[in-house]
């Protein structure tokens, strides 16, 4: 019973302040508080740590270091290069060394200030190109290829080479990392964690404690935002709380202070790329080669999977017949960079979009002309051997053009620019194509557990974690539709490792696809049992003609007197199980790494955005005026939730390209270390004028024809970089315009007035000379 009036079910609790995050649950008696001591330097040898003063501080119960770990001092999920506590070397500023456990949060924080370390500081590496040169590479570099790039360049009218740099991005989930562990019987424990990956926490905690997985129960109510930042990086804090609880047999809570969260956790990977693009005179791209250097930070984390996705998206929505894309994960002394909405894809796209802008400048064409000309068509190939099926690059672009008339828009912008000198407008188009599925094929599995109680209410458990993306609301919609009952009957339970084993993380935009499909299967199994029962009661030989609609049973299309409640109670009395469990694995996907070829994605999501900005030439600041976009949504399960995902993703993309400037010193220290210096978009910065148009179309492989929506919209935001650049090109000057995101007001002003900068320095120099 899918109603058109959709809801975000959690919102009613949220708006009343009644939702529970980890530390909102009333504290159990005797709960202690933990605080993490991290390395003050980004690279060095840890000679010793002195905790004697800290131990004497008020309220301190114990201080744990690597020596206290009963199991393995290792939580690396992909490669074992991530000890829970550093014991001999420190590799990034904030690298955890010790854990203070005290009676109160304040006591624990206070004791941190009394810990002393003896560290032999070594020079830090923060530039991935330097790491690459030093051979400090994680895993092995990868290369995707299509056609024959080298010979194709020979046929090009224009060949351009350049460099594109893009900085990282802080997740800035409003709820910082946190966990609470509670001892249960014997040596068992229960961990409440703000994690996108309960199973990763369970496995890692068990490994650290030397326990079998089944002794560690992990429960997740909800997250105050994740965006990838709690996929792998929630694990270490949960393990620390678990360790303390295990050793002290008391509940322990660890909530990261915002400043520590900023300092200690990894972010979106900065990338730097060298591109070479070859085109015909009229803008057809014939060849593209690119070398991506990923700044992985100090530990592997998920970097290799992120790297892979950069390659998968290195040609964005375009078909380029000859491609060679190389990517290397370079180890530096930044905190381990990690998943962030888009997962490497956006960085791949920034490089190709830069190359196209470069080509547009040289060819005297508009960017959008080249973009449109090269859009991927049905049946064409991606550089990893997958053929485009149900390709929507052209349809979304053309729909956007039909709705918003790009030529007329361009003419309006030109007219404005002809009349104004103090302000200039800029316009850009941004097509997006994003593959859906975990690229590690084995992760594309999920299960659902459905209980029906005798009053007809339904409890649903899956591996999906609610972090604001609305998975619970979508699962409610799916379960209600699958069972043909009212949504009010469905409750989605916490995500818990005892109800769903070995779950994949809630990530890769695939959470609804996977868990929703499993839910449909579980519901169908239940309904099959009911059909058998009802057929028997109705003496019908054809149970397949029994259908369910709106909480009522129909036989051969006619209503019967069987209601949902009657079915449930009869099933119970007839000793038919009211619980079902189902498993789903995405069919028809594979990838062969030895050949870098396969069909890694169940499908792709497409879309096209047009963005306009206004630049204040005097001050170098800009405003985003308008975003119009057409997004390929499939058949929405929950339109309201999906719209929120599109708008929220877009906002993060816009921030990444403009204000959000992660600044690290050469010594690896985070300079933008607080919300006062790291600026994410606020309501004023984002345009009021955003219009989202959904291209709705049955997706044959998503639950009820739906498509994943979490990540792709972020990449529309990349367009704003090129819109600002477009406005800068409309000024009189000869700004150098390198490709270096984010395009902060500082970079804009310095580029616009680059000739003035040198002149301005003359006055103080003269003054100094006069004073000598």
């Amino acid at each position: 019973m899918a109603s058109d009036k959709t809801k975000h079910y959690d919102a009613e609790l949220h708006t009343r302040g009644l939702s529970h995050y980890v530390d909102d649950v009333a504290p159990p008696a005797g709960m202690l508080h933990a605080a993490v001591f991290g390395s003050p330097v980004a690279n060095g040898t840890l000679r010793g740590i002195d905790i004697s003063e800290a131990l004497k501080a008020p309220g301190v119960v114990r201080i744990l270091t690597a020596d206290d770990i009963p199991g393995e001092n290792q939580i690396g999920a992909v490669l074992p290069d991530e000890p829970l506590f550093a014991s001999d070397e420190v590799h990034f500023q904030g690298h955890p060394i010790a854990l203070v456990i005290a009676e109160t949060y304040e006591d624990a924080r206070h004791a941190l200030t009394l810990i002393k370390t003896d560290i032999d500081e070594k020079p830090a590496v923060v530039d991935p190109r330097v790491a690459h040169q030093n051979g400090d590479i994680l895993g092995t570099p990868r290369t995707f290829a299509l056609g024959d790039v080298d010979s194709a360049f020979a046929d090009c009218d224009l060949i351009l080479e350049g460099r594109a740099d893009v900085a990282g991005q802080e997740h800035l989930y409003l709820e910082t990392q946190r966990a609470r562990a509670v001892p249960t019987e014997g040596d068992r424990l229960r961990v409440f964690s703000s994690t996108q990956s309960p199973y990763a926490v369970q496995k890692a905690a068990a490994r650290v404690l030397g326990l079998p997985n089944h002794k560690v129960e992990v429960d997740v109510i909800r997250l105050g935002g994740g965006f990838g930042g709690k996929e792998d990086q929630a694990t270490c804090w949960a393990c620390m709380a678990a360790l303390a609880t295990h050793l002290l047999r008391r509940p322990v809570q660890l909530v990261l202070h915002r400043l520590d969260d900023l300092k200690m956790t990894g972010k979106r990977h900065p990338y730097t790329a060298d591109y070479k693009i070859g085109l015909t005179r009229d803008g057809k791209i014939l060849a593209y080669s690119v070398r991506h250097y990923q700044n992985a930070g100090a530990k592997t984390d998920l970097s290799l999977a992120v790297l892979e996705r950069t390659l998968f998206h290195s040609t964005n929505s375009y078909f380029i017949p000859n491609v060679r894309a190389y990517a290397a994960s370079c180890r530096t002394n930044l905190p381990p960079n990690t998943a962030f909405r888009g997962f490497g894809g956006p960085q791949g796209m920034f490089a190709i979009e830069s190359a196209i802008a470069h080509a547009a400048d040289e060819l005297g064409l508009s960017r959008e002309e080249i973009q449109r000309k090269n859009l991927l068509q049905e049946g064409e190939f991606f550089p990893y051997g997958q053929r485009a099926e149900h390709a929507r690059a052209v349809p979304t672009w053309d729909k956007a053009d039909e709705l918003y008339d790009l030529d007329a828009w361009r003419a309006r912008v030109d007219a404005f620019n002809a009349e104004n000198t103090a302000h200039k407008k800029g316009l850009a188009a941004m097509p997006v194509c994003f593959g859906i599925s975990f690229t590690a094929t084995f992760l594309n599995q999920a299960s659902a557990l459905l209980h029906v109680y005798t009053d007809g209410s339904v409890s649903l458990s899956t591996g999906g974690v609610e972090m604001g993306q609305g998975i619970n609301s979508k699962l409610i919609g799916i379960a209600a539709r699958a069972l043909s009952v009212s949504e009010s009957r469905i409750k989605v339970e916490t995500t818990n490792t005892t109800r769903v084993a070995n779950m994949s993380p809630s990530a890769a935009s695939a959470t609804t696809d996977l868990n929703g499909s499993a839910t449909v299967l579980a519901a169908e199994e239940l309904l099959d049992r009911f059909r058998t029962l009802i057929a028997r009661e109705l003496s019908a030989q054809d149970p397949e003609n029994i259908t369910f609609e709106n909480e009522r049973v129909y036989y051969r299309g006619k209503p019967t007197d069987w209601t949902w409640e009657k079915v449930v109670s009869q099933a119970y009395l007839s000793r038919i199980s009211l619980t079902s469990q189902a498993f789903f694995a995405t069919p028809n996907i594979w990838f062969d790494k030895s050949r870098e070829e396969g069909r890694p994605f169940a499908y792709h999501v497409y879309g096209t955005a047009f963005l306009e900005v206004t630049l204040d030439v005097l001050r170098g600041i800009y405003e985003i005026d308008t975003v119009r976009l057409v997004h390929d949504l499939g058949r929405p399960i929950n339109r309201l939730v999906d719209l929120g995902q599109v708008e929220g993703g877009l906002a993060q993309g816009l921030g990444w390209m403009t204000l959000e400037e992660l600044a690290f010193g050469d010594d690896g220290r985070l300079l933008s270390h607080a919300l006062s210096t790291y600026k994410a978009p606020d309501g004023d910065f984002l345009p009021d004028d955003i219009e989202v148009h959904f291209l709705e179309d049955e997706n044959p492989v998503g639950p009820y024809g739906s498509k994943a929506v979490g990540e792709p919209p972020l990449m529309y935001g990349i367009g704003v970089y090129f819109a600002i650049r477009d406005a800068m090109q409309a000024t009189a000057g000869d700004a150098p315009l390198p490709f270096d995101a984010p395009l902060t007001p500082e970079k804009v002003l310095l580029q616009l007035h680059h000739r003035r900068v040198a002149r301005i320095w003359e006055a103080p120099r003269e003054a100094a000379a006069a004073g000598e």
Binding site: H8, H14, T15, R222, G683
Partner: protein, 488 residues
Amino acid sequence: MTQPVTFWLNDQPIETDAPDGLLVLDYLRRQRLLTGTKEGCKEGDCGACSILLGDLNDGRVVYTPVTSCLVPVGELHGRHLVSIEGLNLPSGLNPVQQAMVDRCGSQCGFCTPGFIVSMCWYMLGSPDHKPTLQGFQRAFSGNLCRCTGYASINRASLDLVDRFSEGGDLHHVWTADDRVAALCDAGLLPTYFTSIADHLATIAPLDEEPMDRLEEADFFVAGGTDLYVQKGEHLPRTTVKILNRHPEMKGIDRLDDDGIFRVGALTTFEEFGHHPDIQAIIPRIQDYLFLIASLPLRIRATLSGNIINASPIGDMTALLLAMDSTLVFDNGDRRRPVPMKRFFKGYKIFDKEPDELMTEIHFPIPEPGTKIHFEKVSKRKCLDIATVNSAASLRADEQGVLRHVSLTLGGVAAIPLYLKETSEFLLGQPLTTDVVLDALRIAQGEISPISDVRGSADYKRLLAHQLLCAHFTEHFSHRVSPEALLAS
């Protein structure tokens, strides 16, 4: 024996012996287990901790939105503290909550209580005659949301604007003489709100401590918006004196006989910007304030706090410096006026004795025709610290000759900088493009910016140039050519 701090928390009377310096956020979450109020940053930058404070004023309670992570418990005496829980109806949703649910203005929900509080403040306490989208946006300008991109929150706001505007079902509530009472009558706010004024009236004021005993405390807290950011984890373990318990240090008077304005040192940014006499001399003050911190911060931050903070990029400092202010200090025995242009001695070094309080700020009433202008560029326009700011007080006679010039720049030196040479150079000069360009060159010799996280030295020099230009292009575009300055 100190008196307990006595106040109302939602519908409950409270007497607490919690330390004065404890933050209201910690008090709510840890001591009262009211966990709807969230901690996102503890630095005033996210608004997840938003609460309302109600003050009795002429028999009515007047509410303001503030960030509970920067307000000490010692400030609560005699007030109504409203947390998100206090805005909940016994069942169902209030109109703000309903609109946010309908429009899905909430995703992960962590920011949501803060938004609801800010928007409820607009609904029950904003002085706007008509509700507007912009009004709601200003109300939640201190609230950060990482999930929604704000579009759905804007739609929720528009729904509310419709309902409370003429023709909407709740229009009568907006226009009612007592909006809080009307909301209660309509079942849209919990009814306990109607009795709060009577309750607050029964709370006896705290015995005021004489000013000369103030030095016994470790810290003086004014708005706390700087102090708590710098020393937040330390303050609850120390003794603090709440300066706001001295209302005589507030208020704005235009003393025509003396030719000056006398402004209480604890006057907040909002009080300053809303005062009609200030608006008369600085017509665009509201626009400038919009660039400074956020509404909940401006409601708390005081002028003296901004000046004594001595940050080279203090915004009100730049303005007051350009207006040739004099600071009046008092240690209980002795009053000491200090011209602001001589107050700052070096980075965070200034002419104030530890036992002195700033009690007043004086500045001359500007002569008619004086243009007072403020410019600020920060990475993000709102709720961000300036990379460079600049204020100007300028007056030209009918021939276009400058008869009064006072220019300041922030973020380009160790102190908030009065541009002495540049100002003196311009005085008596005719306002032409060339003169301005000469002045801009002189200004470059007066500044010495350094590179930091807010910008490189090059950028700051360039900004200094651009913002100084802006004073002239904004107010004298008939005399100087913006195009020529831009092209220079």
